[in-house]
Symmetry: C2
Subunit: 353 residues, 2 copies
């Protein structure tokens, strides 16, 4: 099956492109009425994730509306702890929770190493099905949460503002923390390799809570395990490179270290300019980002101006994938996202001349 649009894969490898590819974090999400409809029909959020036909459907929905250069498989970052026995569920308006959070050293020691091809077969089936449905239109991205980010939810039992219990673990019982993170890194590696073998053509690792750590602890408890995963991934499949993107939110002081992990690209949040990020990572990696999501609440003139500013900040040359600096929010009018994508299509060729 020929890949008709390889702009994303080329840009992630800093190869020449004639315009900047664009996809949007959480592009299959609550801002789309058709998503809300499928979500309501599915039952729970987990039912939606676990039914390959429905996960495929919501993955494809934004591609029907918008000229996006990639699909990203619809799933949750917390599938791994779910199948490790913590049992993920969602409370409306409060985010993810675990029925069996980690409460003791014993809980860490007894965590199983799940066979992801079996326990997460629904993800692999959704990827294979989506690849067939895409029929080479654009590449499909697979993903996982980073070990540190997974660990915070597992130890806190859900979302947190302070991550007190997880930080207490790393400072008070660092060896135990490393045991947990090591197990997670191994399973995430298996999981992402299984996604690649099922058809994922690029990989993104979401380190949503890396910015909660001190710069020293970040290197030891988050970055190290992402580097380990990067080293363990199958980087070529179907005769093509499978690029890996690391997105460590709130970690702009660590861009150099992230670029040294061997990944292909870094996701960049909006708190640093792409110009500064590029000057710091040089030619080592491509950059993905970084428009402020709230720009999508403004009008189209503002959106166009800010798209141009973002393209201009990266500047001339290869190695930029356009995206937001974090996920799109539910309050966005889909027409505004269309305006953003159109602006990228229209303005970006000028940066590849």
């Amino acid at each position: 099956m020929e890949l008709k649009n390889d702009l994303l894969l080329r840009a992630l490898q800093r190869q020449p492109v004639d315009r900047t590819p664009v996809w949007i974090m959480r592009q299959a999400g609550r801002y789309l009425p058709e998503y809300l409809k499928t979500r309501a029909e599915a039952g729970t959020f987990m039912d939606l994730c676990q039914t390959p036909e429905l996960a495929c459907e919501v993955t494809l929905q934004p591609l029907r509306r918008f000229s996006l250069d990639a699909a990203i498989i619809f799933s949750d970052i917390l599938t791994i702890p779910d199948v490790m026995g913590l049992k993920l569920y969602f409370i409306a308006g409060e985010g993810p929770r675990f029925e069996n959070p980690i409460r003791s050293a014993e809980d860490i020691k007894k965590l199983p190493s799940p066979d992801v091809n079996e326990s997460l077969a629904y993800v692999m089936d959704a990827i294979a099905l989506t690849r067939r449905e895409l029929n080479g239109k654009v590449p499909l991205i697979g993903f996982s949460g980073s070990p540190w980010t997974l660990a915070t939810y597992m130890v806190e039992g859900g979302s947190s503002r302070t991550f007190s219990q997880t930080k207490k673990l790393i400072y008070q019982e660092p060896r135990l923390a490393h045991e947990l993170l090591g197990k997670l890194a191994n399973t995430v590696t298996d999981y992402l390799n299984a996604q690649i073998e099922s058809g994922a053509q690029a990989i993104q690792i979401f380190d949503t809570w890396g910015g909660a750590l001190s710069s020293k602890a970040y290197l030891e408890f988050s970055l190290r395990y992402m580097a380990q995963i990067v080293s363990g991934l199958k980087r070529e499949n179907e005769g093509r490179k499978v690029p890996v993107i690391l997105f460590s939110k709130g970690c702009n002081t660590q861009l150099e270290a992230l670029a040294d992990t061997g990944c292909d690209a870094l996701g960049v949040d909006w708190t640093i300019s792409l110009a500064e990020a590029r000057s710091r990572v040089g030619d080592k990696v491509a950059l993905q980002g970084n428009l402020v999501p709230a720009i999508l609440l403004a009008d189209r003139k503002v959106i166009r101006r800010e798209v141009n500013d973002t393209l201009n900040s990266f500047g001339q040359g290869n190695g930029h994938v356009f995206n937001l600096g974090h996920g799109i929010t539910p309050d966005v009018d889909p027409e505004n996202l269309a305006a953003l994508i159109n602006a990228v299509w229209e303005l970006s060729p000028g940066f590849h001349s």
Copy 2:
């Protein structure tokens, strides 16, 4: 009245000291049983803030337990919007709310310029009373929220994760946003000058949500107004310099710009090492911080090791005020804070030889 311990004021001006002064953000807070007792007797949180005798009492409580080098007046960062008519209140577990949030351009245009000496007389009275009670033991710090941080609460109506409405305002109606921020900067300047005249001997501006902005928007909508306030403050009183500390959380990419505002010191959160922060700001400003608050959940051996690491990261020389990288959390055992402070007293003289 002689100031018996001027270590804080000296360190904030990068003058020689024989040990590193230490105070703790939110040192008068819920981790202290005596605070909880006074808080319960006061009625609401706002009753506690608005009764000078009680605000003075809780300001002094941590100084009775710990060898701290500064007091910080007990108050809230949102007193200014409260007296601008938005009416601040608190819901247990959900943080601050406003009865009358900003909902329209008209709401911004009609915001009054309050006479802070009158409408916030309770803060001035608490400062004057606390100075008398301190009797020169340590200096007293006054504070306010930054205009941007105040604006987020005023526009969102309370806490937020995405700040969508405030960001929509700055991108869609920048002139209106500047009108709001300009009004706030003027009132915050008046407010902090009134605090200085009432006896505050150093000032800290809390820009808690500066990190929510893009690097470009940060300069235009947050930093500019803090710089304006710094320029408008009475910098000497009682024959002594009144140092100004800017604490912009999550804004480590902006340290150079912050150092150029004319302030004396920068608060530093824990996501950057003091070594890196120091190398970036050079001799322009002192640095305050930056231990991870969750270290206080670990045991005393770990606390001591991390205190040493923090002192060592700043290194030899003047211009360091020891603090956490953010406020102390309610789950901390006060004995662990005592261990931290003792470690600073014991270990820091080695960095001033």
